[in-house]
Symmetry: D2
Subunit: 301 residues, 4 copies
């Protein structure tokens, strides 16, 4: 049984994602993304589950920054969770005058509350799970929380699938120390961090290396480095697995051009397979390698 | 006197930025970034001050998404605020057992609290200003808030310049309806949103158009469009002013290649002037235009 | 009436091309391509007709080198002549034992001679016209010459359209001093010489400037400069007229990046119209210019 | 002893180049470049010596076209011959009234003849060697020929190093059937033919593949294909040997993008070593391959 750290407390979406990616394992909550990753770097946990991007809020900066610095870690799986809240009370038929949650969660259900609980006052909590605890303790009437919160605290579920934006989703990563990579599935994602100087065309040059090999971006975040003014870190996700020839060659090209850190190759939660242009699929790369070997051996011109 | 909306409540860093960019004006708080921008779109306010990026948290997704959709708005100024908090109490020499703030602010002063107020319990509030109000109301002992909060509420300043990351900064924009652009200052920033299909190399192609004209990126955020699956919006900031030939030509190239929205040209808060490569400064562009006119007139070959 | 110099002697394909491009004018033969161009540079002739490329032999180096150096000249028209020879004798029914021509011409009719005049001995002459003269003088039995030779010398035409390669063609230019350009026809060619250092990627960079504006190459010759070791001259022909926005902008980009000489814009002899990609036709460029003007005027975002 | 065909007749510069590249071998003259290559394709000769480019005339179209079509051949050596002529007579102190040579050679010594033999009449011959034979036969007074002509025919050398352009040079190739490649020397040249459709940017795309790997062009000729209208053949010479990682990877990229024929890798006659940009030397490629292997093995991130 593996020990999985997650950005807690327990009862949050992150725990839910962790249990989805590693159902038989043991889970420990950590105070922050950074703390969760430290437990893995220190060997205290075998893996960590952390959020990496949200379709409404965008990239989770704390996760990206923590993965980019410190000892290397790699993502070996991902989970894409719809962000739909449950509204929890201590008793059925409670009259709801106060609703607690993390301010971000409150922002995501503002319209629902205005329609369904127009009289209720929204109260900030430090996390959605903390709100559930506070409701359980009788401090507030209702909590807007992750569905999994109801598993930890004996609360009554008043409503489910509550969300103003219907298809908001958060992507989570399961991160380990470097080790054998997951096998390619045909619908994979490879993540890297590239550090390059703030020179005109530096990023364009990197993206050209990907495009010329038919490697499609699925995500790009450019963040200034906090320690070195004027340098950027580019967090890049591409379609495909580093075990594939076309992705491998593209990664070598980036490794030659910039300071590169590999953040993992693993199956995509959405199962989307890459669309590869003419001359850029793995068979084309294999054929080119065969051609080169024959030319070098003098068997072809 | 202009009427400036800002993402409130009053007493936040956003108000502070608004007052810095428009000192003589009248200010009104709005409930959300989106609401602040709506007041400008509706003509209720003349301009809005909204946060656009934070050096720790990254891009402010709500701002980017609100600028990209709806009636066009343009940024005419920016402000770069160091994010250093003040700790406020109702009375001097209060014994501090509870410290309230927005969870993000609490996260940014965690170490300071551990060192300076190890016994205090952190309590979530819906904003740093709401925490100040709660302290004023006697609900909690101390608030971690923007310095400007002390201007609105008669609180005692226990500590200033509190921040675990010393140089955390947030950049704010002053946004208006389209109208005459600010004059170029020589140290300008131009912002755009480019929408392109998720085709291999689409982004690389856009960046090549910038790089080939010596136009340097200062920021790039790629966000999936929520309404059209598989399409991305690229939020791009570049060095220079759209009134400059090299920037203007680059923008025309992007306009031909993708769905482009102009988000403004204005002076940079940090005063950094562009470094332009050989053949790409405005004199070079002007010389090329003169050359072309002469060739077309048959006066040169 | 204009005075047209051509690379003579009279009775060659070059004279034929000159008469085709400038039917009412006066013609003077010159000893070499360089000499023909000098008469134009010196004002002795108004224009010169010179060969620029042959589908079998390739570029005519003497023409390219003469256009690239010295006072600027521009091409204002072109002619594409099929290279099919006539076989000429002094009398009908001559028994042909010797056949004279320029060695290049003899090489192009080798198979025809082997089939039709297997017993005849091939003899070198300094030009196809000189061969016609020698036949007229009784020195040899037959000449392989341009059809126009029969116009100057009273010779009998034994055969016409003689050529081993059926569709060999030579393209000729009519070259003048810089002056008003021919109007665009919709099927034009623009010619330039670009001089750049022998740096990795220098040529790729120039071609990218053309490709990104949808400007298609029709010809490219890279020739080492004779005066500066390690530098190249690139002779580039592209589709379109420099008066067109997309071609004009591309030319400005090259002018900024390298030492550029304009060699003319004129209608193509083959009438082929450019195929322009999405976003790169003249309407797209005009729309982008309108957009930019509106944005700069504050009327659009 | 190998059998070397060359574009004859004997006594030409091509024979001279052949003897330089293959001093101990047996030589046979061929009527044309194409015929010389056919003897190699048919196994009648082991190798052929053919001219490939001249600094004054440019590419030798017949050679390029013959290498691009038919069974594959590869160049295994090159020779760079200064084109300086000898003037040969049958007897010392001959009064020279007629000077014979190939018209190209006559064009290259025009000024010398005007200065040194102003009274002599120039007469065309089918080759420089044929002129020497004609002088030996008493037909003309003097021949302008390759120095080696004096080795075959007992003629008197009146002048040597005759050339209007002092440093005119022709490069010759020694061409064989595919077989083991020459070892890299550190100063190598690799030659290819790339066939691509006449699409905007097709050539730019190929050159970008070279430039992004630091592979420098030394020569580029674009020739229309005679058999397929609208398609081009690009004859490209680059610095480096296909056995080198950076050149090999570049060739694989071209092989994926177009119809590619390898024409050989061999030492450069001028001994010029490549200048390679940052991140693109062979050590960089080797380091990238090591990095990739470690990442794939899970030993690194």
């Amino acid at each position: 049984m593996l020990r999985i750290a997650y950005f807690g407390p327990q009862g949050t979406f992150t725990e839910q994602a962790a249990r989805e990616m590693a159902p038989q394992d043991e889970f420990v909550a950590a105070d922050s993304v950074s703390a969760a990753l430290t437990t893995v770097r220190d060997g205290v946990a075998d893996a960590a589950c952390v959020p990496v991007e949200n379709s409404v809020e965008g990239a989770v900066a704390a996760t990206l920054d923590s993965l980019a610095a410190g000892d290397p870690l790699v993502a070996v799986a991902e989970s894409l969770l719809p962000i739909r809240f449950s509204v929890l009370t201590r008793e059925p038929d409670t009259e709801i005058r106060t609703v607690a949650s993390h301010p971000h969660a409150l922002a995501q259900v503002r319209e629902w509350l205005a329609t369904n609980l127009p009289e209720a006052r929204a109260v900030a909590a430090s996390s959605t799970a903390a709100a559930a605890v506070a409701v359980h303790d009788g401090e507030y009437d209702a909590a807007v929380a992750a569905p999994i919160a109801a598993r930890h605290y004996p609360l009554h579920v008043v409503a489910t699938d509550v969300a103003d934006v219907a298809d908001a989703r958060t992507r989570f990563l399961l991160v380990r120390q470097p080790g054998s990579l997951p096998d390619p599935t045909g619908a994979d994602r490879t993540s890297i961090v590239a550090v390059t100087t703030n020179r005109t065309g530096a990023l364009a040059g990197l993206l050209d290396e990907l495009a010329s090999r038919g490697v499609n971006l699925t995500r790009l975040d450019a963040r200034p480095r906090q320690d070195t003014f004027g340098e950027y870190r580019f967090f890049i996700d591409v379609e495909g697995h580093i075990a594939e020839p076309r992705v491998g060659e593209a990664m070598m090209a980036l490794q030659r051009r910039c300071d590169l850190r590999f953040l993992g190759s693993h199956g995509r939660a959405d199962g989307v397979r890459p669309t590869v242009g003419a001359g850029a699929d793995n068979d084309d790369f294999a054929a080119a390698a065969t051609w080169l070997a024959q030319v070098r051996a003098g068997k072809l011109a």
